[in-house]
């Protein structure tokens, strides 16, 4: 199967710091791909290059076979590529429902004039937007909070609002920057279930995450970055036994110390 997303030899540096060098990996449609690596490995930079926040200095990004390198984020959203943010970016002045309604901006089209004059087509579109946003909120268990200002939600609920906002337009691929960072174990468990359900619905996910047990549980593919270089890509089992990964995380050549689960060992190395 041709990958939905192909990242080819991305280069990005900030001042003298090489954040990404020749990074290549791919993500399949309808599958979960995780990008892991120690802090400073370039994971978020990679996401920012893919989503158009940064323009990479070298290499290219293909989405559905088309080159999308350097396209503006709002153009990518229209093509079915959305994202969430590591430091939450919920619209605090909007209600929970309105936050998710904004998520449909890229796939709807009524402009200033039809909005000001309330033309009939505009009202029908508004109704469709509202209905779809409510559907997405219901899916994430937030329907009861639809009318609250998003600024009043708990941290965990804000994360779910962000996810609903990224999913509501039924994108082909969602980039998730640390979807469970800061969540308690129960919330993390729940988020894992949600991610698998989203995958079941055919949406591809590319997630950057530090929680190794979650990564190993939900991912189809894992990409490992280290100091701006891609050092491995494969399924979770293979990654846990990949010599280069073990060396990077644990400082040992081959196997984790006896009696330690590989996933737990990776986790411990992170912390």
């Amino acid at each position: 199967m041709e990958p939905l997303l192909k990242v080819e030899a991305l280069d990005m540096s900030f001042g003298g710091v090489q954040a990404l060098s020749e990074v290549s990996f791919s993500a399949l449609a309808g599958r979960i791909t995780a990008v892991i690596g120690p802090n400073g490995a370039g994971k978020t930079t990679a996401i920012n290059c893919i989503s158009g926040v940064y323009r990479p200095q070298g290499g290219r990004v293909l989405f559905g076979g088309q080159a999308i390198t350097g396209l503006a984020p709002h153009v990518l959203a229209r093509q079915g590529l959305t994202r969430t943010f590591q430091n939450l970016q919920v619209f605090t002045n909007l209600t929970v429902l309105e936050n998710v309604m904004v998520g449909l901006h890229g796939v709807t089209g009524k402009g200033f004039v039809s909005a000001m004059l309330r033309l009939p087509g505009q009202r029908a579109e508004e109704r469709r937007i509202r209905a779809r946003a409510l559907e997405a909120l219901t899916f994430l268990g937030l329907a009861a909070r639809a009318g609250l200002p998003a600024g009043q939600l708990s941290y965990g609920d804000r994360k779910r609002v962000e996810l609903a906002r990224a999913l509501v337009a039924r994108p082909k691929l969602v980039l998730l920057d640390e979807p469970v960072a800061g969540l308690n174990p129960a919330e993390t468990e729940e988020m894992g279930r949600v991610l698998l359900e989203v995958r079941r619905q055919g949406v591809g996910l590319l997630l950057v995450e530090h929680d190794m047990s979650l990564v190993m549980r939900v991912s189809d593919q894992v990409v490992v970055l280290h100091f701006g270089r891609q050092i491995a890509q494969g399924d979770p089992q293979a990654i846990q036994r990949h010599p280069e990964v073990l060396r990077t995380y644990l400082g040992c050549q081959d196997q984790p110390p006896p009696g330690v689960e590989p996933a737990i060992a990776l986790e411990a190395a992170h912390a």
């Binding site: 503006a72 984020p73 709002h74 970016q89 919920v90 904004v102 200033f112 906002r165």
Partner: protein
């Protein structure tokens, strides 16, 4: 910016007050103050769309107001255009000017944008003063014909009252419609977090320019109404001090609140008239109000109102 059902009821209440006010106000001078107030409501509502939505302050809106007045005034008197047509033409010219100004300046952040709009206002004032062949220079441009409806000139304070308040109410309604729409949500989102708004498909740069153009058109239409009401325009009416006054009205009323424009204009327009003592020191006075308000009540008068409503809701809950 809240644009739910409650707003429509409040707008209806204001419309009722507008209908009743002339019964209580017989004095033409007071009607004149009410008319100027409506013009200010229109400009400040437009300005508030920019400040409240895009989060940008413009110190150049007096220039858009002035361009609307001068362009429509000159076209209708020197060139004999119908005043309605000349007002529309002025709005188009201003939209174009705002587009040309907006595309480079809206890339600037915060204070730089304020300085750019301020500079623009200064340029327009100087042009009006220097092109005296067309504009009449410092002594102003007079002989502007009034607007006509069904062949009747709207020359008196009373007749103009209906027109200008109708326009102000319509301006508020259209602003509310925009706030409560796909575009309005996109604008509010880009004010909260530009990167997140872009990530879901909001064309942030284009929206900023569009809302800037829209707010300039509000100012232009108000300016054209002004010109055809007074029949004379002078450069001093549209200098940077008026831009500061408009921003003050916006802040006093409540930034980003749909009613902010109304409250601000309603409170500050009659003030210099009521307190004649202060007329000499008007700019000092406005500056003082601005300072006190930003320190103690940054949400403006509209904020006072919502705080009161929230407290009442909390008590009854």
């Amino acid at each position: 910016m809240n644009g739910g059902r409650a707003f429509l009821w409040q707008l209806l209440a204001l419309a009722a007050a507008v209908v009743l006010a002339p019964l209580l106000v017989g004095n033409p001078y007071h009607l004149n103050v009410l008319n100027v107030m409506a013009l200010n409501v229109l400009v400040v509502t437009g300005l508030n769309l920019l400040i409240g939505f895009a989060g940008h302050i413009s110190l150049g809106h007096a220039a858009f107001y002035g361009l609307g007045a001068y362009v429509s005034g000159i076209l209708s008197s020197t060139h004999g255009w119908d005043p309605w047509l000349s007002s529309l033409a002025a709005a188009l010219v201003v939209a174009l000017v705002a587009l040309v100004i907006g595309i480079p300046t809206l890339r600037l952040a915060g204070n730089y944008l304020v300085m750019a709009t301020l500079g623009f206002n200064l340029i327009v004032t100087i042009l009006i003063l220097q092109l005296d062949e067309f504009t009449g220079g410092p002594s102003g441009f007079s002989g502007i014909p009034p607007l006509k409806v069904l062949g009747r000139s709207l020359a008196s304070d009373q007749q103009f009252y209906w027109l200008v308040w109708g326009a102000a109410l319509l301006g508020l309604l259209l602003a509310r419609n925009l706030a409560d729409s796909r575009v309005g949500r996109g604008l509010k989102a880009l004010h909260d977090s530009p990167v997140a708004a872009a990530a879901v498909g909001v064309p942030t740069a284009a929206y900023k320019v569009k809302v800037f153009v829209l707010s300039a058109v509000y100012a232009s239409l108000a300016g054209s109404l002004y010109a055809h009401y007074f029949g004379i325009v002078t450069p001093k009416t549209f200098d940077i001090f008026f831009s500061v006054e408009l921003v003050t009205m916006c802040l006093v009323g409540g930034m980003g609140s749909l009613w902010g424009g109304f409250f601000g204009a309603a409170f500050l327009t009659p003030l210099p008239q009521v307190l004649h003592v202060f007329d000499e020191y008007k700019d000092v006075f406005f500056g003082g109000i601005l300072l006190v308000l930003l320190i103690y009540q940054p949400q403006g008068l509209a904020g006072l109102w919502t705080r009161h409503a929230r407290a009442r809701a909390a008590r009854s809950a």
